[in-house]
Symmetry: none
């Protein structure tokens, strides 16, 4: 069953509010295995709403409209749907007196304009709104079920979950009532490289489908399958996931919501090791990521952000001779920082970053970062070169440092 | 001039990401006086993209497409726009070799699939992308300017502001060709309080318009005026800005892109003072903010993130007796941390935070933060209580610490 979403509201077109309604509806449609191919936004305008509704009704089995069913003059969804359906508006006496009673019971005077909400297209069925005053409705237009729901998210979502989705599921009786997504997370390959390694799967796999998402140097591969039950959907994903993991190994570090900082926390906990950081260019960003995970106090002890060169010497014990000979941004300095942090903070694992994030030029090209990790079992030092501005270099560098720390723990 | 937005991406239709791109573009279109009547979302599908582009081209003067111009096989915006325009794709040798060089300069092997990005519709003009690898383009389709921009917000917005909007403004020649926004930044008042203080201006001022934006505890008042010239627009804003500043003083700390960290950097530079931090609950987040500003090395020397209690003692010299008597989260401990950081880091100003960000319960209620600032002239200690989850408490707490440091420098 094809379901579309049409959001109505001039405030959306003015960029004053974000269309989170579409996102929330879309996710629930995907979860339940409905096909969802179009979203649109129009203002409170008769002609444009009518053409958007007519176009949707022609190509889809259902259309969910949000917005335009309140009591004010710019709320015209009722009228426009009736026009497109070619029916009149009818007045619901029962609903009107119910509204009057509700207001009176609250001891308020009833605004007559609220009676606009007692109209609906002839033949439409009310979708009750327990959280607000504007009732929704559904009506068949040109072979398509058209639902009109309020724009207020809290009201809309309850009506969607309690009325609209169960109705559509009963109507469609499809065998993909459950959709499951699995995200495989990798670091160390460019997005295009991941695309090349998985080109055949991407092109041929239909259930699950395959998508790529990039953020801060991490590449996620999302597998989405629909089936009658959750276990059937997971069974469709499993063999494809196995191939993805095999092709991308050793770059895969986690799945779904397992962030690198969470994965690292688990690895440290397993080993009963503690961690600390020594940071120059990233100045606390690695520490902030490590402590973003609840329970971080079990594995994280502290950090020294040594931005000024003499702080590297005074607090981290980096020999002035090392800096003189190799430079502030050098593998030798990074390693001495990591060793110094390990001692000063009394931690098992220490990760150190020194680098040039720009815009001012240091002795090395902007974007150069030296990252060192010391652990009870190994020592790793790497120099990486990142493109982009100061913010990007620092963010990607922080992610890189966390991943290099993971490599130090698990080997590669 | 009518401008539409088409977002391309299956992840939008699956409800996995919110279409904030449409909101950001829409707001900028409104600010500049463009008519914007339709937004649509389709997946990475040839037929549906083609029909959406063709429909938009027929009804509007310009179409801004976001997404689908990356290097992977599901990035098909280039091909589809060429199809709809009825032209071939051409290969840009110059751009291809530039990409190769960029990768080689970074010492990485070049994935050949990146060369997909060197194609564009015949006759299209490149819209350069300084923040990423996927170039955008513009091409005329059926009398409509079609722009293809990346889906990554940071890349898309720069290209929109620097290339797309100026181009469309030159093409349209409307008399609000210049739109100027002025943002007045405040901290210390709730959003509703700011709204009440400015209610009359909000309701009556039409040019400039007034909008309120809240983020991390800061409330921004945005004044947006359109006029024939920049100085005309600024002249419309000036008297309204004066009233806003007067009503919100002393909570106003800056304007436009003057972040609290940038303001603080300037205040420190004026005084030739250096700063450092001692962080427990925020573990490096204040340091990261202070060093996000280029040139931070002139004022920032370093930080000690003391998460474990014994690190507070060993590196910051907080007396064990102070912690025993007053607790880890206490004004006495915060003050001792600040004093210890001032000495250990040899800085003029030190800011310290100790607190409980949750979810696990410490001896104080979750959300309690003690913040201390020492400077050559003053000492401030404050206890604040923040609602929300771990991430929110840490983010708002970081912002609060920066603002309290500013108050320590300028007085209030």
């Amino acid at each position: 069953m094809n379901v579309e979403i049409l959001a109505v509201g001039t405030e959306l077109l003015l960029g004053q509010i974000v269309n989170t309604n579409a996102t929330e509806i879309a996710r629930r449609l995907a979860d339940r295995g409905f096909t969802h191919r179009y979203q649109a936004v129009v203002g409170d305008n008769r002609d444009r709403m009518a053409s958007a509704i007519a176009a949707a009704a022609q190509r889809s089995d259902a259309l969910i409209i949000t917005g335009g069913i309140g009591p004010t003059q710019d709320d015209i969804t009722r009228e426009v749907v009736a026009d497109v359906a070619g029916v009149d508006l009818v007045y619901d006496d029962h609903y009107a007196s119910m509204m009057r009673e509700r207001w009176t019971a609250l001891g308020r005077s009833f605004p007559e304009s609220n009676l606009r909400q007692a109209y609906r297209p002839e033949g439409a069925v009310v979708v009750p709104n327990d959280k607000g005053s504007a009732p929704g409705f559904r009506v068949m237009v040109d072979g398509c079920w058209v639902f009109a729901l309020p724009g207020v998210p809290a009201e809309m979502l309850v009506m969607l979950e309690q009325e609209v989705l169960p109705f559509l599921q009963a109507e469609s009786g499809n065998d993909r009532s459950v959709v499951v997504s699995r995200v495989i997370r990798s670091w160390g390959l460019p997005e295009a490289g991941v695309g090349e390694l998985l080109a055949d799967i991407f092109e041929t796999s239909e259930n699950p489908t395959v998508a790529f998402l990039a953020s801060s140097g991490e590449i996620k591969v999302r597998l989405t399958a629909g089936a009658a039950t959750e276990s059937d959907a997971r069974a469709l994903i499993a063999p494809v996931e196995a191939v993805v993991r095999e092709r991308l190994a050793p770059h895969v570090f986690g799945a779904d919501d397992e962030t690198i900082e969470a994965v690292l926390g688990d690895l440290l906990r397993e080993r009963s090791w503690t961690i600390g950081t020594a940071e120059s260019a990233t100045a606390g960003m690695i520490a902030a990521r490590l402590t973003s995970v609840p329970g971080a106090s079990e594995i994280y002890r502290g950090s020294i952000a040594a931005y000024a060169t003499d702080v590297k010497t005074s607090l981290l014990g980096v020999p002035a001779a090392t800096i003189d000979e190799h430079g502030v941004v050098s593998e030798a300095t990074a390693l001495a920082m990591a060793r110094g942090a390990s001692e000063a903070l009394a931690v098992d694992v220490a990760v150190a970053v020194t680098g040039s994030a720009g815009p001012s030029e240091l002795e090395v090209p902007t974007g150069t970062l030296c990252i060192a990790v010391v652990s009870p079992e190994t020592t790793i030092v790497r120099t990486i070169r990142l493109p982009g501005d100061r913010e990007r270099v620092r963010t990607y560098g922080t992610t890189a440092a966390l991943h290099i720390t993971r490599i130090a723990l698990v080997g590669q």
